[in-house]
């Protein structure tokens, strides 16, 4: 330190900090130990278990008809829900940021409901509304639409659970977006839709993609609400997380691990993509 007096003068912070290195190392160590024990170690246990009997066993665990159908159902419903969220979430965020109307504050609060209400409770609430013995559920049933214990119920539950994601990523970007360009487009005679498509949409697209990926990842793993509304019929309405639960209950640990690894790999890829997108946005802001 004394060999670089200039550096020292420039960085009194660093020298002050260095005077208590054990504090820093203590905190680093705590962070590593805590995350290592709570997150890294359990993840490696699943990897070890899933591949414990080799790749061929892993493959056969996945291609068995029930597992495959469960995985397909989970991915299809997640895709549907993500598409709806991309549209409705963006629309909701746009309406919340750009328009004034009575009840706006209330709407803004209600949107956070799925973050606060237990997912199992969401499932019970949906059964209370759409269950075959309820007024609305019975009416829908008589018109040939079965919601509860069927795929529409799964989609509905996922829509409730993931509704806030796109809104909460798009909202701040819309708020910070320059309104000058938008107004210029209006003044030049562009319609509302044209303005939105050519001026607003390009700005918020990264945020829409981020929110959509987050809601997709959330939909892949959802359990609490689905286990109540889906009916969990193998090959029909059994989703991947409920399949994993079934395998654990019937002591088939390797089967549970194999499906877990697949789901983990999927959502891990999504999270990494989101991080990458957000990092890219941040550097865009910094340079622009």
């Amino acid at each position: 330190m004394s060999a670089h007096p200039n550096l020292n003068a420039m960085k009194p912070i660093a020298s002050a900090r260095a005077s208590l290195p054990w504090g820093k190392w203590g905190l680093r160590g705590t962070a590593f130990l805590y995350l290592g024990f709570m997150v890294a170690l359990p993840l490696s246990a699943i990897l070890q278990n899933g591949f414990s009997d080799g790749l061929a066993a892993f493959r056969s665990d996945i291609v068995n008809p029930t597992a495959f159908a469960a995985l397909r159902l989970t991915i299809i419903t997640a895709v549907i829900v993500t598409a709806v969220n991309a549209v409705m979430g963006t629309l909701t965020a746009y309406v919340l940021v750009r328009f004034r109307f009575p009840g706006k504050g209330l709407l803004n609060t209600v949107i956070d409901m799925p973050f606060a209400i237990p997912t199992l409770v969401t499932g019970v609430m949906l059964v209370a509304l759409y269950g075959p013995q309820r007024t609305l559920g019975a009416w829908l049933n008589s018109h040939g639409v079965q919601v509860i214990f069927a795929t529409p119920g799964i989609v509905l539950a996922l829509l409730v659970i993931t509704y806030p994601f796109v809104i909460r990523t798009v909202q701040p970007v819309l708020m910070e977006a320059e309104r000058g360009q938008e107004e210029a487009a209006y003044t030049l005679g562009a319609s509302g839709w044209t303005t939105f498509r050519h001026v607003v949409l390009p700005t918020i697209t990264p945020a829409i993609v981020t929110g959509s990926l987050l809601s997709f990842a959330r939909a892949l793993g959802e359990f609490g609400s689905i286990v109540v509304v889906a009916g969990n019929i193998p090959g029909m309405t059994l989703t991947a997380p409920v399949y994993i639960y079934g395998q654990i209950e019937s002591q088939n640990q390797r089967g549970a691990s194999a499906m877990s690894i697949l789901l983990l790999a999927l959502s891990f890829t999504l999270i990494v993509t989101v991080e990458w997108l957000q990092g890219r946005n941040r550097s865009n802001y910094a340079s622009g």
């Binding site: 002050a16 805590y34 997150v39 699943i46 709407l107 606060a116 359990f223 286990v227 639960y245």
Partner: protein, 283 residues
């Protein structure tokens, strides 16, 4: 010509105002149908059974003990994650070292992992043939199918909230103030207590309430770990799950309404805190 222009402008404005209201109506109806209708249905449903049925279900020993356990687990998990969360947020924001990015990635993992998988991981570590079972057996501790397992599961699934809320606020806190305090002789702990903590308090409380809400409502991880064997290890969500299995719909609905009410209180706190954090960040 100017008149025509004028009329066209007026014409354009009135349909766009109409379009605006149409968009608002779509959003309000969608949100109400998706979020409020099921809520009204369940409250209506439990009121239809009568308040006495609600009270009877909620004062049963099982319901009370499950609520107590849920609160204990949520408070303990929130305390643990607050303590470690602030440490980790500090390390991620203020410290620069090899492996920081790995830590950062690990923090997000609980959001990427299905809760069922989270519970399953604990079974693989502490279950009958688990990695740590010889150790815990030797110490005489039962983890899985017991309270420590439920606590570990709850801690895992609610781990990222405090870190993710505190880190951005912490990066806004100027190092100068901390250093000023430090230079005039305050110890690290004193500096943290009197300078850093007040600056991050709203973000921290926001993270704490999100953690608590998530901890109260967890089912997947807790269901796997509790094994559903004993009523001693039954949280409120497990109570609902078992009641549904036993076709005790009145009990399930009553507890669901109660948990929804608790989440509403937390939600209101969160909204208040969000306003405060936004204010402090803009100042």
């Amino acid at each position: 010509m100017p008149q025509v222009e004028n009329r066209r402008a007026q014409k354009r404005r009135s349909p766009s105002r109409l379009g605006e209201w149409a968009l608002i109506a779509i959003v309000v109806l969608y949100a109400a149908g998706l979020l409020l209708a099921p809520l009204i249905a369940i409250v209506w449903g439990s009121l239809a059974e009568g308040l006495s049925a609600f009270a009877r279900e909620m004062t049963s020993p099982d319901a009370i003990s499950s609520l107590k356990l849920t609160m204990e687990m949520a408070v303990a998990a929130t305390a643990i994650n607050t303590l470690f969360g602030v440490c980790i947020a500090w390390v991620l924001v203020r410290d620069n070292f090899w492996g920081r990015r790995i830590l950062n990635g690990l923090v997000d993992m609980p959001f990427a992992v299905s809760p069922v998988i989270a519970g399953f991981m604990l079974i693989l570590l502490f279950g009958r043939t688990g990695w740590f079972t010889p150790l815990t057996d030797a110490l005489g501790i039962k983890v899985v199918f017991a309270l420590p397992g439920i606590l570990l599961a709850t801690v895992f699934i609610s781990l990222p909230f405090v870190i993710r809320e505190v880190a951005p606020v912490l990066s806004h806190v100027s190092i100068e103030q901390e250093d000023a305090a430090f230079t005039i002789g305050a110890s690290r702990l004193l500096t943290f207590w009197h300078v850093t903590l007040p600056a991050i308090r709203w973000g921290l409380l926001y993270g704490v309430s999100l953690t608590f809400a998530r901890a109260v409502g967890e089912i997947g991880a807790v269901l796997v770990v509790s094994g559903g064997v004993s009523r001693l290890t039954e949280t409120s969500t497990l109570f609902i799950f078992r009641s549904l299995d036993d076709r005790n719909y009145v009990g399930a609905n009553a507890m669901a309404v109660l948990l929804a009410a608790i989440s509403f209180v937390i939600l209101l706190v969160i909204e208040l805190l969000k306003k405060r954090t936004e204010q402090t960040q803009t100042v």
